[in-house]
């Protein structure tokens, strides 16, 4: 504190040359944001613990080995950590430079997925199979691609006179890019990825100056759409399951075997956990009651075992990391960095919020994983890579922001 005051006191006597040097210094990569890194590491550790306790029952039943899931996830976490540190040294501007080819490749991958992909025994073809790594979702890559592209494009628009304040500028290129993504994802289909990509894009455009009015319009349109589906005004076969989901959301117990099962068992897990929880490893719902205990409903298992206390702790950790991500965005060196950090953070935030809302019944069931927690090696790998990019942005934060962190 005293030093900072000294700096301010000294400022008037700093010469122009010094200023220039100071600017040079700012352009160089500094130390990464320690608080952000701490948040990531803590979430990763808690996430792995949660995954182990949530997965061993399923793992045992399916493979006769309780550690099947955790070992795989742990290996991906280690590789991901390494990649994160590597990426934190790669200047994000370099990555942003490639945003167009990256988007093109991701779009291509999404395009072929419905044809050559695999469904992993679900009802949608969302995965591509790779040797060694196993399966991964191209939609995960597309999420990053959108963030990268929008960071570059929106930053340019801001610099060129707040072009985003005009609606027509939203359509080109943002509108059609999102349009392509939505169409490609619909082919799988993949509702939750669509939601997350749209949400992330909107958050980035919002930061870049998109008029608030569009939210009012969007809110009205969305409300009308839900109303129409609910009252069966629109009867599109492909949307009928959306209505079923809404019905099951309102009362998951009315139709346990056909749709309400997941939500009902999630509520039971959370509710029966109580304030202090049943104790780590003592969860009951993971033994076959909760579908995907190690995946979409891992937070329910955590809440059951660790109680309200443990759940709030995890929420605080996420809140802290999200706060830190946005803090990095606010203090980024340039507008691209700001939008990139905000986009990565927003994507994380939206995934977390959607997952927690689903698990606690605030939102209809849709297959959304919880970052750092849910089982999925490639997803974790990508998540850590994104954190690496975020940390790289933090290296270029303004010095005073870094010090205050």
């Amino acid at each position: 504190m005293a030093e900072r005051i000294n700096n301010i006191m000294r400022e008037p006597v700093v010469s122009a040359v010094d200023r220039l040097r100071e600017t040079e210094k700012r352009h160089k990569a500094g130390k990464l944001d320690g608080a952000c890194l701490l948040g990531i590491i803590l979430l990763l550790i808690v996430g792995l613990i949660a995954l182990f306790t949530a997965s061993y029952a399923d793992s045992w039943r399916s493979y006769g080995d309780s550690t099947h899931f955790i070992i795989r996830q742990g290996m991906f976490a280690l590789v991901g950590l390494v990649l994160m540190f590597v990426l934190s040294y790669v200047n994000y501007r370099f990555i942003l430079y490639w945003h167009k080819p990256i988007f093109a490749v991701c779009a291509l991958l999404l395009l072929v997925t419905p044809f050559i992909g695999t469904d992993n025994n679900t009802f949608a073809k969302r995965w591509l199979k790779l040797p060694v790594i196993g399966t991964f979702q191209p939609s995960e890559l597309m999420k990053i691609a959108i963030v990268l592209s929008f960071a570059v494009l929106a930053a340019k628009d801001v610099r060129e006179g707040n072009r985003l304040r005009k609606y027509r500028n939203l359509l080109n290129p943002y509108g059609w890019m999102l349009g392509i993504v939505v169409v490609l994802l619909y082919m799988e289909p993949h509702m939750s990825a669509t939601l997350i990509i749209l949400g992330t894009a909107i958050v980035m455009l919002f930061i870049a100056g998109m008029p608030i009015g569009i939210f009012v319009a969007g809110g009205l349109a969305g409300g009308a759409g839900v109303w129409a589906i609910w009252n069966e005004v629109i009867q599109i076969k492909q949307l009928s399951h959306v209505r079923d989901r809404l019905v099951n959301w309102l009362d998951p117990f009315q139709d346990l075997l056909d749709g309400g099962w997941q939500a009902a068992n999630s509520f039971i897990a959370i509710g029966s956990g109580g304030f202090w929880g049943l104790g780590l490893g003592q969860g009951r719902q993971k033994h076959g009651s909760l579908s995907e205990p190690a995946n979409d409903f891992i937070f329910a298992v955590w809440s059951e075992e660790m109680g309200f206390i443990g759940a709030v702790l995890v929420i605080l950790l996420f809140a802290f990391l999200i706060y830190r991500g946005f803090y990095i965005a606010m203090n980024a060196r340039d507008k691209e960095g700001c939008l990139l950090a905000a986009g990565i953070t927003a994507k994380l935030a939206i995934q977390v919020v959607v997952n927690l809302f689903v698990v606690t019944g605030l939102f209809p069931v849709t297959g959304a994983a919880l970052p750092f927690f849910s089982y999925g090696g490639t997803a974790l790998l990508l998540q850590l890579c994104e954190m690496g990019i975020l940390l790289n942005v933090s290296r270029y934060m303004r010095a005073e922001a870094r010090e205050s962190g």
């Binding site: 039971i268 003592q282 340039d334």
Partner: protein
Amino acid sequence: MSIKGPDNRMQKRVRFLILFFCVACSFVVCAKLFYMQVIQHDLWTAKASDFQTQDDIIEPTRGAIYDTNMNELAVSAGSELIYIDPSSVVNETNTKNGYTAEQQQARMAELLSEILGVDYDFALENVKMTSKQWRQIKANVDKDTADELRQAISDARRKNEDGSQPAGYYIYSGVGYQSDVTRYYPNGSFASQLIGFTNSEGQGSNGIEEKYDSILSGTPGRVVRAATPDGDDMPYDYEEYIPAEDGASIVLTIDSTVQSIIEKHCNTAFADNPQAAGGVQAIVMEVETGAILGMANLPEYNLNSPKTIEREELRSELRENIADACEEAGLDRALAEGLSEEYLMYGGSSYLTEAQLANEELVTILTDQRKATLEKMWRNNIVKDAYEPGSTFKLFTVATAYEEHLVTGNDSFYCDGGMQIDETTYIRCHKKGGHGQQTLTQTLMNSCNDAMMQIALRMGHDTFKAYMEAFGLFDTTGLDFNGEGKGYFYQSNQDWYRNSALATASFGQRFIVTPLQMLNMVAAIVDDGYLKTPYLVREVLNADGTVRSTTQPKVRRQVISEDTSAFMRSAMEEVVATGAGKNAYVAGYRIGGKTATSELQRDENGEMHYTASFIGVAPIDDPKYIVLVIISDLPESAPHGGGAIAAPVVGRIFNDILPYLGVEPSYDGNELDRMDVSAPQVTGLSADEAAKAAKDAGLTCRFLGEGDTVSDQVPSVGAKIPYGSEMIIYLGGRTKTTEQREVPSVIGLTPENADYRLELSNLYLKRTGVSSSQYNYQTVAVKQNPAPGTMVDVGTVVTVEFQNTSGVSDR
């Protein structure tokens, strides 16, 4: 070029996002968590235990039923019922994996038929009923087989090494298990109406099984355990275990050996009297305690398949009833002829043709008639149904009058063939010419109706009725059996106080009592007047084998004095020794008894029907066992006299059970011919010595051949032959022939002729049945063993039963 970071508006908007995500959204989620985990905690905990626990009912093992010597009569074994939910056999995942619905169903049917051994087509048919959710595949599956099925399904459910699910992963879905307990009756039809059986729910539905259901069935236990939705155990400790309390076992007073003996003789009697529409019943009771040692009802049924009508005569009766019912309903009688024998035997629509099934009226008739036949077959009519006792009831009349000092042993009664009761009523004795002058004992020996009427009228209605009540005829005997029947008498005093009512009642007609009431009454008459409560259950054993309770014999009251009882015993002995009951005679034992031939109603052809019965007591000087045999509902055209057809059955029963029950025989001078002696060793002796040895043994001898030394003998050493039989002793190197003889038929011959016929064949005669001292011109052989035509060695003993066909009239 200056590089600028985010402008103020961007920073402002990012700050808004921080507020939105880190504060607002987090708060909402935390609030919802708080609501669910703290405020609604109890609700969700309750729901959790619903979802996470499996409440397994543990079926207690039903207690066994033992006979008095702890032989198992009914035992339980655990088993499972296996069903499928056809609606969930076909599932999407399989379809996606390339299995058509037909293939999935076929695989399931294959699995079921392979492991459970059910017919493949049957399994497939059920698997295809996709609109149903529960189809039974097999009941009574033992636990090992059920485990095998579980294992096969779980093997198919193992994932591949790489975690993917094999193509057939879901192929066997929709199989379910229910625990089930099977009841097994080791002796099949043995004492069937007495033991009863359990229904498909495992509850006793007849006999002892029904009466003692609550004791036998025990209390179901429960395991409330943490379980996954698949029913597997969860690896955390939550289990509330309320153990099942296994049912107690019942030890009956029934003695399997006695029961087999009476069943054997009832079967013989039923075969001898095939026209007995009401079947044959017998009871053996221990006089001093009231314990029932055996109770047989024919026709019987197999307890292991109570719904199968095994007896052919029951099936033809059923067919006849169906024809009658068809006619009544306006259908063609011939419909009954078209029924398959399998349908009559097993029931069930699968044995009916399409055309028969289409006739709804017929199906209703079939179901009703078959049910009626089954219920008749299951009914323990000794205990439940009443009959007109007939002449055995004369024991009551005499005992009561004697007790009241209205008659003495020295009184004489004149029978002129009937009695004018009042102006309009003349009641005949069964002997038209009358029995003439008789002592009190002779009235019983002759079974004289005239004398009974005189005695009863001397006694008056009130005394008669009071003793009926005292002997327990107005009430059930208190046997531990469901649905015990009791007597049915004149309902109004006006009817009762008519002299004709009293007169007919004196010889046991125009009212009904149950066979058991009758037996119990006679037991009291011979046992110093003590009326007891008969019982079937000797002990109740806890599941661990310790005794829970023991039945104490219960004396209800002393109805008549010891003197009266002594008189009755001597009179009853005379009935068997020289009276109408002489066919019940068993050599070496003192038997007392009374015959009865009671009138039933005339049938539609105007033919009178009769029930023949006999109550016997042995040994009559110290009554231990009492036996009642009833041959029910015989037409007049068939032999139907109690002394002729029921008494020999009682004799045969006593002949077999008394030695078994440890009553030593003692022969007096008149019955030495019934005593067996062992042939002594005479081969190698001199002729004189041999003659002496035979004489010492109670045998006569005949020499064949010349010489001093015995070279061979018939019969061989140690063979049992009747006292006084002739040994054949071969001298001088002669030996008996090794050629076998054919047993001649002696049925229908007099004792002398039978003896002569057998002697010609060098065979020995062993007499059973009516005492030799009671032989008359109508004494004939009725049974022989070995059967005629059997090839046997010389010197073989042929057992022949003689009966008197006259002098045993008792109506």
